[in-house]
């Protein structure tokens, strides 16, 4: 028995997923002995659990996620970060790599600043805490942000990062992808434009198989012209 099988079947809320043998996973609910889909998504079965992978919906933070956030508000001992989710996340002064005096918070991060952070923890009432204290987390200067549906993030990354690596190689931009569907990039104007277009292609067009090749073709056609 393999650990998973993809039925790639679109399910809607209220659709019957299974009537007996399997166990309910994420995105499902049980009623009357049967398992039903709770949201619009793709049915997936893994080791006897039947789940629904949502196709839309807001990003719900999970501990360990790397995200790109924007400072919304400043307090004397913390900043409030918008992480593109129903819940804003406070960033405490103890969770940043700089030594900040009480009340001096505005000097390090101002309202509107973009940063790369990690979700530290999420409690039962969905209160989120983020941190910047890890390797690689930092304030992002300049560049621009593209927003996509958070469920499309794995597609933008691709297998072993192949898709995003391809985009980075062609466009010569630095790109960071946040789990929350925000992508930051920096490069020169034209290159960034191409990268944005490529990413939008992925976000909108999960239509055809061989998405990778279409994106590659697009990038090639754009860059071949410029040589």
């Amino acid at each position: 028995m393999n650990n998973e099988s993809f039925t790639r079947e679109l399910v809607l809320p209220g659709d019957v997923l299974d009537a007996g043998t399997m166990k309910p996973g994420e995105g499902t609910y049980v009623d009357d002995g049967k398992i039903f889909a709770a949201m619009l998504g793709i049915k997936s079965v893994k080791s006897n659990f039947v789940n629904v992978i949502p196709l839309g919906g807001r990003y719900i933070p999970a501990p360990g996620d790397m995200i790109i956030g924007k400072v919304m508000d400043i307090g004397p001992s913390n900043w409030l970060i918008d992480i593109f989710s129903p819940y804003p996340a406070p960033l405490h002064v103890n969770e940043v790599p700089w030594r900040v005096e009480f009340g001096d918070t505005a000097r390090y991060l101002g309202v509107g600043d973009t940063l790369l952070a990690k979700v530290l923890m999420v409690d039962e009432t969905k209160r989120v805490q983020v941190t910047m204290k890890e390797q690689g987390l930092r304030k992002l200067q300049g560049g621009q942000i593209v927003e996509i549906a958070h469920s499309k993030v794995p597609r933008v990354i691709g297998k072993n990062g192949s898709m995003i690596q391809m985009i980075k190689t062609y466009t010569n931009c630095r790109i960071f992808i946040g789990q929350n569907g925000r992508i930051w990039m920096d490069g020169n104007m034209e290159d960034m434009d191409h990268a944005v277009q490529a990413i939008k292609m992925i976000d909108e067009g999960a239509q055809t198989l061989k998405l990778t090749e279409r994106v590659k073709e697009f990038l090639e056609s754009v860059y071949r012209k410029e040589e």
């Binding site: 393999n2 998973e4 099988s5 993809f6 790639r8 079947e9 679109l10 809607l12 809320p13 209220g14 994420e26 995105g27 609910y29 709770a38 949201m39 619009l40 793709i42 997936s44 789940n51 992978i53 949502p54 196709l55 839309g56 919906g57 807001r58 999970a62 360990g64 996620d65 790397m66 129903p86 819940y87 804003p88 790369l116 009432t125 969905k126 690689g136 469920s151 993030v153 794995p154 597609r155 990354i157 691709g158 297998k159 072993n160 990062g161 192949s162 898709m163 995003i164 690596q165 980075k168 630095r174 960071f176 992808i177 789990q179 999960a206 239509q207 055809t208 198989l209 061989k210 990778t212």
Partner: protein
């Protein structure tokens, strides 16, 4: 006023238990998290869903669950006598009813302290707008990826010329004898909304309810079909592997850092070749 002729045919050519033609499109507004456009006969209704998002006003937020704030509104040009813009008592009542109906099906416990905002705008009205509105709102909620028990259809039955009929149009509503809008979960038969204007005997009520229930099942199929059509193209790609496996390694990338291959799983192959050879 004669609304039904001798052969049981109504003013618009329908039989007593026939629905008006219904058209539903999901995902019509790009800014909204979820949206739907519904036409029922001459009714044209647009629904948009935003959320779950931070709850404003703050004092309404519920620490245990999300609240559903629905706003039903009729656009000034939706009726032939210009309707003054802004909520009136009828709109407020309808908003309340629809919020409560939706609150029953949405899994609000998953999103404490947030609000799910549902906006219903009637662009053209021809009786039965609250039903069309709720029908649209349910599709919009599903389109927004909000977890719910089921998609909710809604329809109105009533009585004209002493005959129980389904899905009243404007003349039938204005000159008829009773109007009974209902909303329900087709699978379990639970009723989420029911109102009545006019007079019905117990038997007539049973008849009307039965007609309404049957029609709801039809509308339910149209709602589902609209969602399936909207997402049919996405279905071609496999996106399942995304949710469970965290992809932290590939998130933070700069040209200098090497890629760590920590949690990659073999099934990621599916991203490039959607032809899976997994057996059942």
């Amino acid at each position: 006023m004669k609304l039904i002729d001798e052969n049981g045919i109504r003013t618009d050519g329908r039989k007593v238990d026939e629905l008006r033609p219904i058209k539903i499109e999901a995902g019509v507004l790009k800014n909204a998290d979820g949206s739907a456009y519904v036409e029922v006969g001459k009714n044209k209704v647009l629904a948009a869903v935003y959320g779950p998002r931070e709850c404003h006003p703050r004092h309404m937020q519920n620490p245990a669950k999300a609240i559903i704030q629905c706003r039903y509104n009729m656009i000034s040009f939706s009726v032939s006598d210009r309707k003054r813009p802004g909520p009136d008592r009828r709109s407020v009542e309808i908003s309340k009813l629809i919020s409560e109906a939706l609150d029953y099906v949405v899994f609000t416990e998953n999103y404490p302290r947030t609000s799910i905002d549902v906006y219903i705008e009637v662009l053209q009205a021809n009786a039965g707008t609250r039903c069309a509105g709720l029908t649209a709102a349910a599709v919009a909620l599903a389109d927004a990826g909000i977890p719910m028990r089921d998609i909710v259809p809604s329809v109105a039955a009533g009585k004209v010329n002493d005959t129980v009929v389904l899905d009243l149009n404007k003349e039938e509503d204005n000159y008829g004898q009773a109007d009974l809008p209902i909303a329900m979960i087709p699978r379990t038969g639970e009723v989420l909304l029911m109102q009545m204007d006019g007079h019905l005997t117990k038997d007539e009520f049973d008849q009307a309810l039965e007609m309404g229930v049957k029609a709801c099942k039809e509308i339910y199929e149209v709602q589902k079909d609209a969602l399936r059509r909207r997402y049919a193209v996405v279905n071609g790609e496999s996106e399942e592997d995304s949710k469970e496996e965290p992809m932290e390694d590939s998130n933070v990338e700069s040209k200098e850092e090497p890629m760590e291959d920590s949690k990659e799983e073999p099934m990621e192959n599916s991203k490039e070749e959607p032809e899976m050879t997994e057996e059942d």
